[in-house]
């Protein structure tokens, strides 16, 4: 088992390097001169020079063969990518083009909002999806099962940004029940501890703050949770159905175990393995979906930030956030694989 974990850990490293490479290559996709593209046609020369310097645009992309031909070995490696990679190793994501603030700094400010939203959405997806999936598998072809199947298909088919807009229209514009955007009403203060507002307000016993934060997060969390809920429900159901066909389920019933124990003790643990993989993948869906959801609900997280940066052509921000999300996604999937080793005794002996 130790070897399995080690092997899996090591396998992340090349992938991670590949990821930085892909993100670095993003800026090669920019048509024309990147500095001009970022600053616009009428940028002054000083700014253009600054951007060139920041990106090392006067250097070659990967390796400087001209420097080598002149016998300059260190110069050979002095390139855009190597500089970029070197900065990443020092947790330096560069700075914003327009505001000239280090990206990592703004990230620290904005990331908790996205984490809070994603965690709540994932919790909704798990709490709703798994029990419904189990129930509809155990009552196959019942009305509930049919409704679940249709409902989950609709769930994966709804554009979440449209769902968000519809929610705003109904709950905020027409019924005026819920606020349509941002994390808190103005005037409400929650003492920051973790910067997860729901948690902080609970920790400080700030009930007014909690209620306000909860009302604000409700709509974005629900619309963000739609797709993961639907997918987790479907996966739980189909995985349970597969497992319920297995011979060992019949063995368990033949022992005289009740349906509940057969379902929850014998079927669920086996059925859960593929579900965990899906949950890992949904973590990515959530982080990517945050771009849309946060945009609609003016949620001050990294998704909205990416959207604003795309409009403002502040490419280093887009690169930085994409990298962060990719790394989180990689780590989540790593954890998923490792949890496999814990859940499935067969893996450790491969």
């Amino acid at each position: 088992m130790g070897r399995y974990i080690l092997r899996r850990l090591l396998s992340v490293i090349p992938t991670l390097i590949g990821v930085t490479l892909v993100i670095f290559l993003f800026q090669r996709l920019i048509p024309g001169d990147p500095a001009v593209a970022m600053l616009g046609e009428h940028a002054n020369a000083e700014n253009v020079a600054r951007i060139r310097e920041q990106f090392g645009l006067d250097k070659p992309a990967f390796l400087d063969r001209d420097a080598l031909a002149e016998g300059d070995l260190p110069g050979f490696f002095d390139s855009q990518y190597v500089r970029y990679f070197g900065r990443l190793l020092q947790f330096d994501l560069g700075e914003s083009i327009h505001r000239r603030i280090p990206i990592a700094e703004t990230l620290k400010e904005r990331f908790p909002a996205t984490v809070e939203l994603s965690l709540l959405a994932m919790s909704i997806a798990l709490v709703v999806g798994i029990p419904i999936g189990i129930l509809s598998a155990s009552r196959r072809n019942s009305f509930l099962d049919g409704a679940t199947m249709i409902g989950s298909l609709v769930g994966v088919s709804v554009p979440i940004f449209w769902l968000g807009i519809m929610e705003i229209m109904f709950f905020a514009v027409i019924m005026k029940w819920l606020p349509s955007g941002s994390r808190l009403s103005s005037g409400i203060v929650i003492k920051p501890i973790t910067n997860l507002l729901l948690l902080d307000s609970l920790l400080t016993g700030n009930w007014v703050g909690f209620k306000d934060a909860f009302l604000h997060i409700l709509m974005p969390a629900i619309s963000l949770a739609t797709i993961p809920t639907a997918i987790i429900t479907r996966m739980t159901r189909s995985s349970m159905l597969d497992v319920l066909q297995e011979d060992y389920i019949r063995t368990a019933s033949a022992k005289g175990l009740s349906e509940r124990i057969v379902l929850f003790r014998h079927a669920l643990k086996n059925a859960f393995l593929p579900v965990i993989t899906i949950i890992g993948i949904q973590a990515g869906t959530l982080l990517a979906g945050a771009v849309l959801t946060e945009t609609i609900f003016s949620w001050p997280g990294i998704g909205k930030w990416v959207y604003d940066s795309i409009l403002g052509r502040d490419y280093p921000i887009v690169q930085g956030v994409t990298l962060l999300i990719a790394i989180i996604f990689l780590v989540v999937n790593l954890l998923v694989d490792l949890s496999y080793a814990l859940l499935d005794p067969r893996i450790s002996y491969e």
Binding site: N141, Y248, A252, G256, H266, R346
Partner: protein, 337 residues
């Protein structure tokens, strides 16, 4: 010819019927079978695959999935009550406790994510109300009983660490854990090597003698059955077509189908080069059963009557057992002059 002493049967099945509703139509898997099983008896249930032998066992255990399955008629008297009329909760107390079952494929019949020991203990904790440590002691005893070496160590192993034969032993240990009155073994040796098969058969015979339970041994292999069982039910298309003590059936085979089954057994005595007899054709479509004898289409002895009327199981005095065939007298040369 019966046993002479009027023994009270352990189980009495009357008119058991099982169907499945599928997209293509209603599959008549078991069609009104009736028989009795005595305490301590080893009964062999023989037939081709798809003849309803497994389904009838699962119906006794009420492990048929409903829907698509259905048991529209029949009674299964066991210990003085009709199992088919018990509540689900009462039936659970029968499963694993009074009737236990061993399945065909030991590779897939054990849950891969729990230890073998836990899976044996489970039934003990449920039916015998043992706590975990008592169950463990008993489970290790059982593993020893079925001949698994180093049982204490093996208790904590997962199924994938067991070989096929050992898994089947573990399955038997699990089935016997609560000292059932009836053990149903559903082709328990089909998936195993021939040498392991013999070990498992001997194990069951030994345990039957030690524990005195009844055994129902389901198989498609008449050769296996002959050595170990007392009585045989031959099933075809969901019907019992011949039933009796082993010797009677072997010595006075009445049904053409049973003859075919016996004929397809290779024998050492036969001269090399002797052709094995095979039964031509396939069993009937269980969705559209023929009105007459189900074996009609493949039978070499068929007459018009076989096409029109379905023969019922009747007592063939001369042969000492029962058979469902219109022409058994003529076939064996009994009676009709």
């Amino acid at each position: 010819m019966t046993n002479g002493t009027a023994m009270k049967p352990l189980m009495e099945i009357k008119n058991l019927t099982t169907r499945f509703y599928t997209q293509d139509g209603v599959v008549n898997a078991v069609n009104g079978i009736s028989y009795t099983l005595d305490p301590g008896e080893i009964l062999g249930v023989v037939g081709e695959s798809g003849c309803g032998k497994s389904v009838h066992a699962l119906s006794i255990m009420r492990l048929i999935q409903i829907p698509p399955g259905e048991i529209p008629a029949g009674e299964v008297f066991f210990g003085g009550r009709d199992l088919l009329k018990l509540s689900e909760r009462e039936m659970r107390m029968v499963r694993g406790h009074e009737i236990a079952m061993v399945f065909q494929d030991p590779m897939s019949s054990l849950n891969p994510v729990y230890t073998v020991g836990f899976q044996i203990s489970e039934a003990l904790m449920l039916h015998k109300k043992m706590n975990r440590s008592q169950a463990k002691v008993r489970a290790i005893e059982l593993l020893n009983l079925v001949g698994i070496p180093e049982a204490t160590k093996r208790f904590d192993n997962y199924p994938h660490q067991f070989s096929g034969g050992m898994r089947q032993r573990a399955m038997i240990a699990m089935a016997l854990s609560c000292e059932p009155k009836l053990l149903i073994a559903d082709e328990p040796t089909t998936a195993l090597d021939v040498t392991i098969q013999a070990q498992i058969i001997n194990l069951v015979i030994r345990l039957q003698e030690e524990l005195g339970m009844s055994v129902m041994w389901i198989t498609h292999d008449l050769g296996i059955v002959a050595e170990m069982v007392h009585r045989i039910n031959v099933m075809y298309a969901g019907f019992i077509i011949e039933r009796g003590f082993v010797d009677d059936i072997y010595n006075h085979t009445l049904h053409p189908y049973t003859m075919g089954l016996l004929g397809s057994l290779p024998s050492i005595d036969e001269a090399p080069g002797t052709k094995l007899i095979s039964i031509p054709g396939l069993p009937p479509d269980l969705i559209a059963l023929p009105e007459g004898c189900p074996f009609f289409a493949r039978c070499t002895y068929r007459v018009e009557q076989c096409h029109q009327e379905r023969p019922q199981l009747e007592n063939a005095q001369e042969a000492g057992h029962t058979v469902a065939c219109w022409r058994w007298r003529e076939i064996q040369g009994f009676g009709v002059a």
